[in-house]
């Protein structure tokens, strides 16, 4: 599992609040048994209704950092949402805040989801719009985002940051290590032991 310390690339701004997972990946695309191919359907309905949608805009096509508003990824637990963003090319997300399940799903995929203040998000958004080729660097070690002469602090849950930095974001390996403790815990849970 690889250590994720920084992600850099061009940035796609989508600074709206309460973007839910139904919008990120409409439910009809969940009729699938693998995550392959979900990338091309990211924001499909929003893109159809709005030809100016950033995910439709050629100048943002090769972006790897997504810039978003508050409560990004609210709604369903579908991992299809971060999967579709990741397969579209997103490697890190900066937002004012995230919905909880979505945040966990991102971390489990090795996609850092970091928060910045609304002023910083807006300012970075302005700069990216002015210069879509601007290289944005999300630095998990320094907890900073830099882009040209712009720089701001970012935040991320300590446990998620540690997991990404140490390459343990695929928690399956961690969980599997504790088989013995799992069994010991099960032995003291009343409903697994006839309520004795």
């Amino acid at each position: 599992m690889s250590e994720i310390k920084q992600v850099s690339g061009t940035c796609i701004p989508l600074i709206l609040d309460d973007i839910d997972t139904d919008r990120i990946i409409p439910a009809r695309f969940l009729r699938c048994v693998t995550f392959d191919g979900l990338g091309e359907h990211a924001f499909e309905d929003d893109r159809e209704q709005n030809p100016n949608h950033p995910f439709e805009n050629p100048k943002y096509q090769n972006s790897s950092v997504l810039l978003a508003g508050r409560n990004f990824g609210c709604g369903s637990s579908r991992e299809h949402a971060p999967q579709s963003l990741m397969r579209w090319g997103i490697k890190a997300i900066i937002a004012e805040s995230f919905a909880e399940i979505f945040f966990g799903n991102c971390t489990a995929l090795g996609v850092p989801a970091v928060t910045a203040s609304s002023t910083d998000v807006d300012e970075l958004g302005r700069r990216v719009e002015a210069d879509p080729q601007l290289e944005v660097k999300v630095d998990l070690v320094a907890k900073k985002v830099t882009a040209g002469d712009f720089s701001c602090d970012i935040d991320i849950l300590d446990s998620a940051r540690d997991a990404l930095l140490s390459g343990q974001w695929d928690f399956m390996t961690l969980l599997l290590e504790n088989q013995e403790f799992i069994k010991q815990t099960a032995e003291k849970i009343p409903y697994l032991n006839q309520f004795a």
């Binding site: 709206l16 609040d17 309460d18 839910d20 139904d22 919008r23 409409p26 439910a27 009809r28 969940l30 009729r31 699938c32 048994v33 693998t34 995550f35 309905d45 929003d46 159809e48 508050r70 409560n71 609210c74 709604g75 369903s76 637990s77 579908r78 991992e79 299809h80 805040s97 919905a99 909880e100 399940i101 966990g104 799903n105 489990a108 995929l109 849950l157 300590d158 446990s159 540690d162 997991a163 140490s166 343990q168 928690f171 399956m172 961690l174 969980l175 599997l176 504790n178 403790f181 799992i182 815990t185 099960a186 003291k188 849970i189 009343p190 409903y191 697994l192 006839q194 309520f195 004795a196």
Partner: protein
């Protein structure tokens, strides 16, 4: 000794396997529910790594999201749906997991089936690859939704890596007015605390109103916790909980049941329990509530008007403007009289027998307004069977409703039941997001099943209280 731990902390501590190097808790999961949408990739991950399911008897599967509710003949007409169906059948067979498939009388929406079978019990940790898993909190369980990678983790290890949330107690005291249902209570709470208000919290619902509620009403409330941002919501177990579980197929039987009940009741938060936050509401302030926007927090009492832009914080106004435009509603207008094209009674929020009874009582002797497509979709095969025994299907059909087979149906766009174009749907489900009901421009108004029934008959949004017979004098 006074007990400071609330239920959440008691149950959490009991299931704590240890602290991971990331600082998160490794939490043992007592019941893992799975369905066809979020599990195929998880089983694929197990195969890739050569892993098996650690506790297959703590894992139960059902099918709900993609199930057609009219023609259920196999293979399904939708080949993608058929493929998902065969996949879960194959996975459950191969990994030794019990599956309630559509030929099984126990099949239905995962959050309806768990409680119905008595699988859902107080004191359990329950997860499912579905955000409305919070429903099971109605029993005093810690229950929440997870993503597919986590589904794989739970299958392989029966555990999950998780940070511990804070606990907020939400008290609603006093008496609810007639015509005000559990759905209105939960919409009201979300409106007051906001769709982001619960992030980082588990909600404990307490006070007179929840104490008096039936288990089905409690499930409606806990179901919607996630719409308020809280991944998990619960109600302390009491005699109502114990009575509901007695005799259910998967509940403890005989003398085990009494031992179980004693343990369940001991888990409830006591009078000295501590919380990170407490908020209190007055039940009499709650009216039949309807959403007007594109998040479940954008709702009003039926006698209120769509709020004006300047009543919102500066920061929220862009979203509010987007909601007006998408919904085709104007600030200051009433929702009463807004024409509906479709009405939907069903979903894991309000697809239980008490919901159907409530709606049937209102529609009896009336007709669905011309031009309205009205659906009633029981949440499970057992709900359907019970409804048929009580003659509810006949009442609905005589009134002009379509009576369907069990499934998620028009709650989300994964099966043939979908809105078309900009249709407006009065819906008893839980999400009014853009495009949620299958048309990218379709519009959803969330409300109680009784209010949906009233909308179906009037052809527009109406105050259900005007249809109810005056009670006593």
């Amino acid at each position: 000794m006074s007990e400071k731990k609330n239920l959440f902390n008691k149950v959490w501590d009991l299931h704590n396997v240890g602290t991971l190097p990331t600082g998160q808790t490794q939490l043992f999961i007592g019941l893992h529910l799975i369905h066809e949408v979020t599990s195929p990739q998880a089983f694929a991950m197990l195969r890739e790594r050569g892993l098996s399911v650690m506790y297959p008897d703590r894992t139960v599967a059902t099918v709900d999201h993609i199930v057609p509710t009219d023609d259920q003949a196999r293979p399904f007409k939708d080949l993608l749906a058929e493929q998902m169906m065969s996949q879960i059948e194959k996975n459950c067979r191969e990994f030794g997991v019990t599956l309630f498939d559509i030929s099984d009388s126990r099949q239905g929406i995962v959050h309806i089936v768990g409680p119905e079978q008595g699988l859902t019990q107080p004191g359990l940790t329950i997860v499912c690859g579905d955000s409305h898993t919070s429903t099971h909190g109605a029993f005093g369980a810690i229950a929440f939704g997870i993503g597919t990678s986590q589904v794989a983790g739970v299958l392989a290890t029966q555990t999950l890596a998780l940070g511990k949330p804070k606990v907020r107690r939400i008290e609603v005291n006093g008496e609810l007015n007639p015509g005000v249902y559990a759905k209105d209570v939960t919409l009201y709470i979300i409106q007051k605390l906001g769709v982001k208000g619960g992030i980082g919290y588990a909600y404990e619902y307490a006070g007179d109103v929840f104490d008096r509620m039936t288990m089905e009403e409690r499930m409606t409330v806990c179901n919607m916790s996630i719409e308020g941002g809280a991944r998990c919501g619960y109600i302390n177990p009491d005699q109502t909980t114990v009575d509901y579980l007695r005799g259910r197929p998967q509940a403890p039987q005989g003398s085990d049941f009494d031992k179980a009940a004693e343990w369940w009741l001991s888990l409830a938060s006591g009078p000295d329990a501590e919380y990170d936050d407490v908020v209190t509401f007055d039940a009499s302030d709650i009216e039949p509530t309807v959403t007007w926007g594109i998040t479940p927090g954008q709702s009003i009492g039926i006698n209120e008007n769509v709020p004006t832009l300047d009543s919102f914080e500066e920061d929220d106004r862009a979203g509010v403007q987007e909601a007006y435009e998408y919904m085709g509603l104007e600030a200051g207008q009433s929702l009463k009289g807004v024409k509906v094209d479709v009405t939907f009674i069903g979903s894991c929020t309000n697809g239980r027998i008490s919901d159907l009874r409530e709606a049937a009582q209102l529609v009896k002797g009336h007709k669905v307004a011309p031009g309205v497509k009205a659906l009633v979709v029981p949440g499970s095969q057992l709900v359907l069977k019970q409804a048929v025994e009580e003659g509810l299907d006949k009442i609905f059909e005589e009134a002009g409703f379509e009576w369907r087979a069990a499934g998620c149906s028009m709650c989300l766009a994964m099966n043939p039941d979908k809105l078309k174009g900009r249709e407006v749907c009065a819906s008893s489900s839980n999400r009014n997001f853009k495009g949620r009901q299958g048309s990218p421009t379709g519009r959803t108004l969330l409300m109680s099943p009784a209010m949906v029934a009233a909308a179906a008959i009037n052809g527009h949004v109406a105050d259900v209280r005007e249809m109810m017979e005056p009670v006593g004098v």
